[in-house]
């Protein structure tokens, strides 16, 4: 079908039809996670490589488990413990890996567009697991999948995305994915972290978080990406928390049944108050489970079936 043998680099390029295919496939595959023996033979003999130039807990483990549950073999390479340390270029590393018979590469890199670059070098499919400040497509898909666990549909849903919009690839993937499926997306953050061009993506931008959250069905809190920020984009974490941290006051503007999401890892007490992160309205841990199902679906759709 449509994703077969292709790369998954961004939700911007993914059609709504393909997104729905991934979501419905993930819906079927999620059952495997509840089995006592979590293994199906579908991708037997396929080799998947995770190539991570940035630290990761969730995404990497999630991809690896997804591959293992589908019986694919995985190898994982971290920049910190590989020949990257000796100065090998990305292109050389990738070409060498491909020559060892790998069927698919999953890459995270700190440079935006690096996955597009990789996909032009390699004949095998490439999945973007986060490239710089650009996109993180599987995160966007798993977020939409999680929203659908709680809401009847995406069309017409009001989603507020809160925080470090400028540096967040999660925000961009969610904006592309959600608007494509008909949601009304509002974003808010400190003006230094809220690029003025963001409205060109079909969202509304607010400097005051209350306005963005007003009547929202979903409140999506982003991590403050301190590692990507040059200094003095905001005065202090404490002040950020005062104005933009999600607490009960701020949340009271959302709908009664609004769900709270966060891509992790959380800076508790900065962008999200601890009691809200642990409240029953928080679906943050569901996102993690669903991540495995969605990634299984993506791997099946790209690798399953005839070459």
């Amino acid at each position: 079908m449509a994703l077969k043998g292709k790369d998954l680099l961004s939700l911007q390029e993914l059609s709504q039809e393909d997104m729905e295919l991934v979501l419905s496939t993930a819906r079927s595959l999620k059952e495997i996670l509840s089995r006592p023996i979590k293994k199906v033979p579908t991708l037997r003999g396929k080799v998947i490589c995770t190539l991570f130039y940035e630290p990761s807990t969730r995404t990497r483990t999630s991809f690896e488990l997804a591959a293992k549950y589908m019986s694919a073999d995985t190898v994982s390479i971290s920049a910190s413990t590989s020949s990257v340390q000796k100065g090998e270029t990305l292109a050389d590393t990738a070409r060498n890996l491909a020559m060892m018979g790998i069927d698919l590469v999953i890459m995270r890199h700190s440079v935006s567009g690096s996955c597009h670059f990789l996909s032009q070098i390699l004949d095998i499919p490439v999945i973007n697991a986060g490239d710089g400040m650009h996109e993180h497509p599987t995160q966007g898909l798993l977020d939409i999948f999680t929203i659908l666990d709680y809401k009847p549909g995406i069309k017409g849903l009001k989603v507020a995305i809160l925080g470090d919009i400028a540096h967040s690839r999660v925000a961009r993937s969610n904006i592309f994915g959600l608007t494509k499926m008909g949601a009304e997306v509002a974003v808010s953050g400190p003006s230094t972290l809220l690029p003025p061009e963001i409205e060109a993506l079909g969202v509304k931008a607010f400097c005051r978080p209350e306005e963005a959250i007003e009547g929202a069905d979903v409140v999506y809190v982003l991590r403050l990406q301190l590692e990507r920020q040059s200094n003095s984009l905001f005065p202090s974490k404490r002040e950020y928390q005062d104005f933009f941290g999600l607490d009960h006051d701020l949340l009271s503007h959302a709908k009664e049944d609004a769900i709270i999401m966060h891509p992790g890892p959380m800076n508790r007490g900065v962008e999200i108050a601890t009691d809200i992160a642990d409240s029953p309205r928080s679906v943050i841990l569901d996102q993690v489970t669903n991540g495995v199902a969605v990634r299984m679906a993506v791997l099946y759709l790209i690798l399953g079936g005839r070459e």
Binding site: A2, T25, I37, P41, M70, Q120, D123, G305, E307
Partner: protein, 239 residues
């Protein structure tokens, strides 16, 4: 620079043809599955194939079973299940997607009427276990597996519409065993058309239908197709 597998039939095309076929006549004929020609890679081969498919289709030769026939066969199978298992203790029905599922539900209904026992019914999707996943051209959609019981210790009766090569059942056996260790697994099919490729047989058969490989057996069920009917059709070429 980069060459990735380009689809032999682009996604819209399959749909267009399906619509075309449905327009032509909903029950009398249908276009042959495209996967059959997946071995053809070249563009000229593709053109020939496209030409060929326009001139080839199946025509229903005979109706083997009607609504009453299907009902009677299922009633008999239901009774045989009770007889063989000396009651319905630990018996569960598992329908193989798609048409095995409504059949399993109907069997459960008959068992409830005659034995006054509610037999649990599950649904099994075997896509992930197919042995032809790497051979088929079209990537099959993964359906939902729903087993609302632990299969361990149960007498599982697999239900499917047509038994042909046996490969679907092989996949279903693997799928079931991944969920636990049943006490036994039995197989009920509405039609057994022969031509087994692996050593598998059915315990309960609605009707044995000798066929040639050129023929196709179509089970249509009202839950999915709006009509209860089993027909046999043969490939013909238009002139």
């Amino acid at each position: 620079m980069k060459e990735k597998a380009s689809p032999l039939i682009w996604p819209g095309e399959a749909k267009r043809r399906r619509i075309q076929y449905e327009k032509k006549s909903p029950l009398k004929e249908h276009w042959w599955g495209f996967s059959f020609f997946s071995c053809l890679e070249q563009n000229d081969a593709k053109a020939n194939f496209m030409k060929g498919i326009e001139n080839m289709h199946f025509i229903d030769k005979a109706e083997i079973m009607d609504e009453d026939g299907i009902r009677r066969a299922l009633v008999r199978i239901a009774h045989e299940i009770v007889e063989r298992n000396k009651g319905l203790d630990d018996v569960v029905l598992v329908g193989i997607r798609r048409r095995g599922v409504p059949l399993a539900n109907r069997l459960a209904e008959i068992l409830k009427d005659s034995e006054n026992v509610e037999v649990p019914v599950g649904e099994l999707d075997i896509t992930l276990y197919r042995d032809d996943l790497t051979l088929k051209f079209e990537q099959p959609r993964v359906g939902r597996t729903y087993l609302p019981f632990d299969v361990t210790g149960k007498k599982v009766v697999l239900v499917d519409d047509v038994l042909y090569t046996g490969r679907t059942i092989r996949a279903a056996l693997d799928a079931i065993m991944d969920h636990g260790r049943p006490q036994s697994i039995q197989l009920a099919v509405l039609i057994d058309r022969g031509h087994r490729e692996i050593p598998i047989r059915a315990d309960y058969v609605g009707k044995n239908v000798p066929t040639s490989r050129r023929e196709e057996v179509h089970v249509r069920l009202s839950e999915i197709d709006g009509i209860d009917q089993v027909t046999i059709s043969e490939e013909v070429k238009d002139d």
